[in-house]
Subunit: 411 residues, 2 copies
Amino acid sequence: MNAEIIAVGSELLLGQIANTNAQYISEQLAEAGVNVYYHTSVGDNPVRLKQAIEVARGRADLLIFTGGLGPTKDDLTKETIAAALGTGLSMDEEALRSIKEYFNRTNRAMTPNNEKQALILKGSEVLKNEHGMAPGMFFKKGGRSYMLLPGPPSEMRPMFSKYGIPAILHTLKRKEIIYSRVLRFFGIGEAQLETELEELIDTQTNPTIAPLAGDGEVTIRMTAKHGSKEVAGELLDNLEEKILSIAGDYFYGYDHDSLVEVAMRSMKEKGFTLSCAESLTGGLFQSEITAQPGASEVLKGGVVCYQDEVKKNVLSVNENTLKLHSAVSEQCAIELAENVRRLFSSDIGISFTGVAGPEDHYGKKAGTVWIGLSINGQDTKAFLLNLAGGRNANRKRTAKYGWHYLLKELT
Amino acid sequence: MNAEIIAVGSELLLGQIANTNAQYISEQLAEAGVNVYYHTSVGDNPVRLKQAIEVARGRADLLIFTGGLGPTKDDLTKETIAAALGTGLSMDEEALRSIKEYFNRTNRAMTPNNEKQALILKGSEVLKNEHGMAPGMFFKKGGRSYMLLPGPPSEMRPMFSKYGIPAILHTLKRKEIIYSRVLRFFGIGEAQLETELEELIDTQTNPTIAPLAGDGEVTIRMTAKHGSKEVAGELLDNLEEKILSIAGDYFYGYDHDSLVEVAMRSMKEKGFTLSCAESLTGGLFQSEITAQPGASEVLKGGVVCYQDEVKKNVLSVNENTLKLHSAVSEQCAIELAENVRRLFSSDIGISFTGVAGPEDHYGKKAGTVWIGLSINGQDTKAFLLNLAGGRNANRKRTAKYGWHYLLKELT
């Protein structure tokens, strides 16, 4: 079975949004062992959508549509597919009830155009929308399978993983399955990692090895094909051992792990609490941990000390430190880390002070950053970064290095 | 002229990255008045790439390719296009020289496979790569135009805007141009806005009106076609006036404006400074303003008060407030806003306290949020939200409402 993902929406062709739905669906299909051969995006235009359907029917077994299921006049995915395949539409009473409930729950008045969302293609299995109104659909016709999903990612993602993937797997009844595992590295470039692993990459066939760089991290995707899940798991285990014997120093986690999650797990296991003093990162570092459920077990809080006056008045940085060394200095980073740890009574204090850019500041180049790390019972350390990105790339990279150094010191 | 953007790379079909190149190129083309009718993504596979080229030649005048120009074996965009169109490849001496220089500059050894990057399609205009090695190309054949761009966004973006767009505009010699303006709304749903504007939408032809929802906001794109920039501007002005006479209460800005930028501009104009007390948002609100250059003129800083003990010890919330009303209460929001304003000596103090979820807490439902707002010389106000999203959707929506209320109170 091979799939094509067709995204419908003029906002894609105008560049107002990126097609992240195709990425999400592709990743899930890759894990399920379904090949995706094409992505297509087309506007809210029935003639061109019809043409895209015809092209896709000529080259794919599974056509997955996203978008165009909403209440407005330019939402016409269902209607166009119905016309292209010669199928009718009918009102789904359960979907209609659930749309009415949605309006009740959110205390809003339901306008008549919302009823259109409960129309489904005749003979299709309804995929429930638990985060919005428009239901999804799955049906087979002429030897092909068709799935329709809503456009908003917050609705599409849970629907696809909870109802879409199981419906596809049920159709497949496949014997040989593809198993993937991703290894995640920080602090090494893609080319360097690829060079170190060159021999392995060239000689491996099952599992295969695919490195990918992004966001200052490098990942290695190992992919094994086998009829037995256990054997595939062993193949992946063996290869992982070989890779980590070469590049284990930079390895930090698996699959969808992130530096912040792994660091948070490590602090939880040790029963450590954290507080933060953020200058150039301006709340970003804390925002990354508070995005995780359970952050309150670890994070006590922190101070965004965007001004020197706040570093002095709220976080008690010595006036002489600021005068002699400036806020962007090893000394200031150390005082911030120690003082925030004391103010919040936490086991760990971490601080970030630097020049995000675009302009230089304090006589320091944009990209100059000090990270201070004070851990209960250990000497306070400071780490210097010389970053070369733009303002926000530097802020994000700084936060990543923060998690990286914190994790290194904990393990 | 209508365009199709063809992205080449198996990493797209595996869902390892999103096709942000298509978004960038589409946005630039929309501004240049070139219609994009399709996006296609295809893997590093010459047979399927050739098929994609054939489909696109049947429906587009301008084919823009991204990716597959690199040095490795799976980079085969040039070779496949050459075969599909019956064109040859030749070594471009200037590109080769520039690749050699690139290796010299970055102190790396050049491997022989890098020479392949200097091969260009015969007869094509070279688009210089100022941020990497593989040059871009532009050529015409059989009444169609073809452009090849590298895959990494850091190379593709500057090349396309500096050399790609001018090459396309030169080809067009167009008289009538498309002018767009986006109006941005917050606090109203898409269906409600469309219902209020229904008559306008149905009767308008030039400019056209297209609503789009996303991230709790609704935008309206007005698009006018005209030979004169001035007349098009007047058409847009007239329509904007009509739209705002109906829905002006929810309007906050234009085009790429964001709530945070508009609120920041408003504070700058008034010479106001800001400080923040963040519980459930955990640094996110401050991180949004510190992402903007010039934030230091407005933001003094703030406290992430993730624990009740921090609200009490660092931000002096009354112990009785926490006991009698809990941290998620109007009283606590008001004290946090007033106390953070005092601690940081700012003109405005804003606070966020609530239950992000997924679990209920303090006897309050997940999604219950209080925002406190203390402005110098005015009574402190508090606003209650009842949000229905997941943990991070609730945190992001809360931050948006923070900017929204702040902006409303300032204007």
